[in-house]
């Protein structure tokens, strides 16, 4: 069992959770993830590690309620324990000194982007960051990202914070203005696809962090496979970071939806159960 030492609501559907997992905290690198299970009936949920406190043995994750498992996770409180928590899984982000880097994060994906921003800055890069979200309330980790960014641009769909528009609009402006040596885009799949296309137009290589459906997370089942270049890759062990230009996005997007029906069924049943409990 893995004790939750801190739980904080960031917005209506976004939560920050710190979990006591000393071994994970001691090993985690930027870009890696954990898999957790709420209870013995739970599914294995992959979530990116936001940051760690190795001395205290703590791991921070941020998640957004999108279905039954995350809704249930949101009911956990400080002092409660998660049934399972394993990691750090996957390969670390390709952090090194590139020169000028552009980091693009969308929605809850900002949580996965933040540790990479931090490490790229520490590696001596000039870091430009674009954060995007629907509204002001959904822009998470703004101050943390700002701390490690030489420039921070915020885009919201409704203009309630920063500029009104999409992250790709901001990307185009940056590309028009200066040479970017390497870019990252982490967020909803569709955002990553378009961010990749935008970067490609300007000839800038871009890494994305894929979040397909996973089960074991250790390369055992192949459920998370993605076509990268001409090869079948397992996002859990070969990724989650890949060059966006090599990802077969259409296939990836369709595969992500393959349990849509069951996910909805499970979520509805859970909401009904919760409503019945009052």
């Amino acid at each position: 069992m893995f004790k939750i030492t801190k739980m904080r609501q960031l917005s209506e559907k976004q939560f920050e959770m710190w979990v006591s997992a000393p071994r994970v905290a001691g090993k985690a690198k930027a870009g890696q993830f954990v898999i957790l299970r709420t209870t013995e009936f739970g599914e294995r949920i992959p979530l990116t590690i936001v940051q760690t406190d190795p001395e205290e043995g703590l791991v921070e994750i941020i998640f957004q309620v999108i279905g039954k498992s995350t809704a249930e996770l949101a009911t956990f409180k400080e002092g409660d324990s998660l049934h399972d928590f394993v990691g750090p899984l996957g390969m670390p982000a390709n952090v090194k000194k590139y020169g000028t880097v552009l980091l693009v994060g969308g929605g809850v994906g900002i949580a996965a982007l933040y540790p990479i921003i931090k490490e790229l800055k520490k590696a001596g890069n000039r870091v430009l960051t674009i954060l995007g979200a629907k509204t002001k309330e959904l822009v998470i980790l703004e101050e943390e990202c700002r701390k490690y960014s030489d420039e921070l641009i915020i885009m919201t769909d409704d203009g309630s914070l920063g500029e009104k528009g999409l992250v790709t609009n901001a990307m185009e402006k940056v590309f028009a203005r200066e040479k970017i040596d390497m870019a990252w885009a982490i967020g909803p799949s569709i955002m990553m696809k378009f961010a990749t296309m935008t970067a490609e137009k300007s000839g800038v290589p871009v890494y994305v962090s894929l979040n397909p459906i996973m089960i074991d997370g250790t390369g055992m089942c192949g459920g998370c496979r993605v076509t990268v270049g001409d090869a079948i890759k397992f996002a859990c062990v070969d990724g989650p970071e890949f060059l966006g230009s090599e990802v077969n996005w259409d296939e990836f997007l369709l595969r992500s939806k393959q349990y849509g029906h069951e996910e909805a069924e499970s979520f509805e049943a859970y909401q009904k159960e919760m409503a019945d409990l009052g």
């Binding site: 599914e43 498992s69 399972d84 089960i215 055992m220 496979r225």
Partner: protein, 464 residues
């Protein structure tokens, strides 16, 4: 004594029409009377060939005699000297290729061999009903780490604890058992049986830590620092894909994913358990081994209208156990012999709608001695399918190996370990089971675990 029956004593089974709709165990086990009757068929050979044919060399005539005498504690005591997982072996061992194949009774044309596996199961199931005794051994011989809690790791761990070692088993998943837990379905090996046999091993003093991916959560360096020796038994654990066009379509699974969803994650109990498994109408399973049988029979139980196994050779070469094949036929699994998939066909939503196959003919024998299947030109045909499960074997999982380059690997990507000693290129690091041999059987993995325990004992004793 009554005249020996020509045939094995009947073991009741769930009727096919019933069991096709549930995940409960197919074979229901002997009662004591049937067991005694079957035990009385044993010739009690002096130089019993069955013992030599058993990878863990159980004193088979010995425990069978005890059953015949109605002395179950003694029968169990004999088996437990050799095997830490008898309820599992009694169910999943290929006895027809081992002990029962060489049984002298069975060598006589008119007789079937003694049902050794079924008798082993009887004894082991009896033992599972008894209270578990906590052993209070002094673990003063040394500390051993075992990586992987499958049949090989559990066997080594149990034997090492019995020898007086302080043993910690690291398991990457959230539940111990390896393939016994995520791979072999409930209807062939109830998870309750697996849990109980693991509890017996834990009662020997073995510590099992789940949620630890060695190479990620802890490193091999840490293991080498903190333990006197280590046994790597992580299994093969990386599914192969045919790699034909359409592999990315929704509805295309590896058998590892399909069976993990069902077994480890209890997908057949969705939505009580959160992990779903698709309910499909027409399921095609690629491959002819036991895993293919497990996948096909699971799909049958999940409610598929039609399940077809596509195998590139003929019935004669089918590698699956005869019993599994027989059960699959009873459960109305169809076979497309001498066929191989060439492409998965999808619709505009990225969903599988059919499997394009080609007819095969058997040519000259290949390296394995089996006749090599070759495609017959212009013989393509399509099987309608909304799910395809590839059960074509596994390769080596690299998660641990990539972090431990000192460890020598063979040309197939598995660990290069000595067959006679399980020793690897790194002193103190032993390896066995599927990560050395490639995907094989539970009992062979257990045999390696027993050998490793013995060798580790010698290594640690000599070092001190």
């Amino acid at each position: 004594m009554a005249k020996r029956s020509y045939t094995k004593t009947y073991m009741p089974e769930q009727a096919p029409e019933t069991r096709m709709h549930n995940f409960e165990e197919v074979a229901l086990g002997y009662d004591l009377e049937s067991g005694k009757l079957e035990a009385s068929r044993c010739l009690q050979c002096k130089n019993a060939p069955c013992i030599d044919a058993c990878p863990v060399m159980i004193d088979i005539p010995g425990f069978i005699k005890a059953i015949e005498d109605g002395d179950m504690p003694k029968a169990y005591e004999i088996i437990a000297r050799y095997s830490n997982l008898p309820a599992i072996c009694g169910r999943v061992c290929p006895q027809e290729k081992q002990c029962e194949m060489v049984c002298r009774l069975g060598r006589n044309k008119r007789f079937e061999p003694v049902a050794i596996g079924k008798l082993e199961r009887l004894v082991a199931d009896w033992a599972l009903e008894q209270p578990i005794e906590e052993k209070s051994t002094a673990f003063d011989k040394g500390k051993v780490a075992v990586i992987g809690s499958g049949p090989s790791g559990l066997t080594a761990a149990g034997d090492l604890a019995k020898l007086g070692y302080d043993v910690t088993v690291y398991e990457a998943l959230h539940a111990p058992g390896g393939v016994l837990t995520y791979g072999i379905p409930e209807f062939r090996l109830p998870k309750k049986v697996v849990r109980k046999e693991i509890a017996i091993i834990e009662a020997l003093g073995v510590k099992i830590e789940t949620n630890v991916v060695v190479g990620k959560t802890i490193t091999m360096d840490e293991i080498q620092q903190n333990f006197d020796a280590c046994y790597i038994a992580v299994g093969a654990g990386a599914p192969n894909f045919m790699g034909i066009p359409g592999t990315g379509l929704n509805g295309v699974y590896s058998s590892s994913e399909y069976l993990t969803r069902i077994n480890l994650m209890h997908g057949y109990e969705f939505p009580k358990y959160d992990t779903p498994v698709h309910q499909s109408k027409n399921v095609v399973v690629i491959g002819g081994g036991n895993v293919a049988m497990d996948a096909a029979r699971s799909a049958r139980r999940m409610g598929a209208d039609k399940v077809t196994i596509v195998y590139r050779r003929s019935e004669e070469e089918l590698p699956a156990r005869e019993e599994e094949y027989h059960h699959s036929l009873e459960e109305k699994i169809d076979y497309s012999w001498l066929s191989n998939p060439t492409e998965y066909l999808g619709n505009d939503k990225g969903e599988l709608v059919g499997v394009k196959c080609i007819k095969m003919a058997l040519g000259e024998p290949d390296d394995s001695g089996r006749r090599r299947p070759v495609p017959i030109p212009d013989s393509e045909f399509i099987i309608e399918a909304d799910m395809v499960i590839e059960a074509i074997g596994q390769g080596a999982n690299k998660v641990l190996l990539d972090t431990f380059p000192e460890l020598a690997i063979n040309k197939w990507g598995y660990i290069d370990a000595d067959e006679e000693s399980c020793a690897t290129s790194v002193p103190g690091i032993f390896a066995g089971g599927d990560i050395v041999t490639g995907a094989a059987t539970v009992i062979l993995a257990m045999g390696a675990g027993k050998l490793a325990a013995k060798e580790i004992d010698m290594y640690v004793t000599n070092k001190k």
